[in-house]
């Protein structure tokens, strides 16, 4: 699978990445190689096989939907790059 320049930019956009021009060729080429390499899985007959998402996920426990902690605003905001009035600050979203 050859990852075209257009496709690369599209996937990067989905992943919210800007790939530096110095890295672009290398990423495009190596991703193309990896995608071609993993295509060998198509040879495997998986008719009637259930996908495996993880270990024992059928038995995942549930709990009541209730508050288990709280009153830790300072902890939550301690690592915020920008904060004010007990909130995270982000660039303006609505014009």
């Amino acid at each position: 699978m050859e990852l075209t320049e257009d496709k690369l930019l599209r996937v990067a956009d989905l992943a919210r990445l800007k790939i530096r021009p110095s890295m672009r060729d290398n990423i495009r080429q190596s991703c193309s190689n990896i995608l071609s390499w993993v295509e060998q899985l198509q040879k495997v007959n998986t008719d009637g096989i259930e996908p495996m998402t993880g270990m024992n996920i059928e038995a995942l426990p549930e709990r009541f939907d209730e508050v288990t902690d709280g009153n830790c605003v300072e902890d939550i905001l301690a690592n915020a790059p920008e904060k004010d009035h007990n909130m995270f600050i982000v660039p303006k979203v609505v014009e």
Partner: protein
């Protein structure tokens, strides 16, 4: 007086209990070694004051007769476990300033068992790598070198700081994490023991996520017994991790009886790949003979989907990583790079904060999960994953444990690593299948190659049969006589 840093955990524990040494002495000895061998770049953050304070508390408890299983033992923590009030970077620039307000369950369990923490250990960025060359904090260095060649070798990865520190006697043991081999491969490269327990044994709470269905914490130590001691302290059911196993924690140490009479050891024929160094094949044969001489029966088994394990892993792991790493967006924690809009801010932040391998894996993961490709890649890989697990289920109907090499080669030069990512991924060819199947596997140091570098053998067991790994591993350890090698053989220290 013996050099305190050369002691095993089990021996140190004896001396501590007998009051022949103090926890403070033991910790001080390690702190000074860490300074002396700073050039190995094993630690990204050192916490000597905290370690000494914890050691003083241990000494006070020891005076009152404490029998906690790691009382007074100084350890290193891979910098992917959140440690309260201690910087935790996951080897990434994007978390350069991150100071967790909480403690991971695994590290808390170790503290509760009486351990002290010497600091945080270098690792590949978000645990993605096999050489510790993808750390934003520089390469960690393997204390071993080739005979007559002073060039620096990689300590393996992603738990490369952990393997370097334990092999160089800069910690009595260390935590690692293993998503595709990140405990076992660095253990093999540095001549130490590393075990990836059954998925669910160790809580993932507070362990920075790479691929959540594969990630598992485990101990890295210099002896099999030490690994058993440390794993017992790390593990246990944790309601904070929904995938945590509700299994009893056995006393793993007591399982080491040295008796493997009648044990059936499977040799997977598909592991005899062309990529293996002939010296490793030779060692594998030695391993079979050692186990046979101790009463085990060697049986050839087949794991027919082995060749598909690596490509399956390189769909599933990046897919999960692309999702997990979406949280690094410059809003709640980590580095932020401003932008004119929210999207621009996300993009600027992520592009500046992530290194090339992480970007590559996010790209692959995003691609295989994207509309039009999901079924052909991700769903297909999940189905092959089940076939791989079924191979193991089938094999364990006939045998108790599997013996394989840990890695296809010994440690390589820091200056001349494989340039092609797929070549680098081949390092995990023997370790990845156990992660996909969720089963436990241990790497045990088993000898040196002709260049004087350590090599490891791997044992793989059915889910929750870690005890079997420790007992069988102890036979390999004893037969290989690896511990008779003196510290002086590790030339980079």
């Amino acid at each position: 007086m013996t050099n305190l840093t050369n002691l095993s955990i089990s021996k140190a524990r004896e001396l501590l209990q007998a009051k022949e040494i103090s926890a403070v002495e033991l910790t001080k000895a390690h702190v000074s070694e860490i300074e002396k061998y700073n050039h190995l770049n094993a630690y990204t953050t050192k916490t000597p004051e905290m370690a000494l304070r914890q050691a003083e508390e241990s000494d006070a408890r020891l005076r009152q007769g404490s029998r906690k299983i790691l009382e007074g033992i100084p350890l290193g923590i891979k910098d992917i476990f959140c440690t309260k009030d201690v910087t935790t970077t996951a080897g990434s620039d994007i978390l350069r300033t991150f100071v967790p307000p909480y403690e991971s369950t695994v590290s808390q369990n170790l503290l509760d068992a009486g351990a002290s923490f010497l600091g945080k250990l270098n690792c590949d960025e978000f645990a993605m790598g096999s050489a510790n060359l993808n750390s934003a904090y520089g390469a960690a260095i393997n204390p071993w070198q080739k005979k007559g060649d002073a060039s620096h070798l990689v300590p393996g990865g992603s738990s490369g700081g952990s393997s370097s520190a334990v092999a160089a006697f800069l910690a009595m043991g260390a935590t690692g994490t293993d998503t595709g081999g990140s405990i076992r491969q660095p253990a093999a490269f540095t001549g130490i023991v590393g075990i990836k327990p059954t998925y669910g044994r160790c809580s993932r709470y507070g362990m920075i996520a790479f691929a959540s269905s594969l990630d598992q914490a485990g101990p890295m130590t210099r002896t099999v017994q030490d690994a058993a001691i440390m794993l017992e302290a790390m593990t246990g059911y944790d309601p904070k991790d929904s995938t945590s196993a509700r299994e009893d924690v056995p006393c793993f140490e007591k399982a080491i009886t040295g008796n493997i009479q009648g044990l059936k050891v499977g040799i997977p024929k598909e592991y005899q790949s062309d990529h293996i160094d002939p010296e490793i094949l030779k060692l594998w044969n030695k391993g079979k003979k050692w186990l046979e001489a101790n009463g085990a029966e060697i049986v050839e088994v087949s794991l027919p989907h082995t060749e598909y394990a690596l490509p399956t892993y390189y769909i599933i792991a990046p897919a999960e990583a692309s999702s997990n790493l979406a949280r690094y967006d410059g809003v709640r924690y980590g580095t932020r790079v401003p932008g004119d809009s929210l999207d621009e801010m996300y993009k600027n932040t992520r592009s500046a904060g992530f290194g090339e391998e992480v970007i590559r894996r996010i790209m692959i993961g995003t691609y295989v999960l994207s509309a039009g490709y999901y079924d052909a890649y991700y769903l297909k890989a999940q189905k092959v994953r089940r076939l791989i697990k079924q191979d193991f289920d089938q094999a364990f109907k006939d045998v108790d444990v599997l013996l394989t090499p840990a890695t296809p080669n010994a440690a390589f030069s820091i200056d001349n690593p494989p340039q092609d990512p797929i070549q680098m991924y081949m390092n995990d060819i023997f370790t990845v299948p156990a992660n996909l199947a969720g089963i436990p596997a241990i790497s045990v140091p088993s000898g040196l190659n002709s260049e004087g570098l350590p090599l490891g053998l791997q044992l793989i067991a059915p889910a929750f049969a870690e005890s079997l790994l420790f007992n069988t591993g102890s036979i390999i350890e004893r037969e290989a006589g690896f511990h008779d090698l003196k510290k002086e053989e590790r030339q980079a220290i």
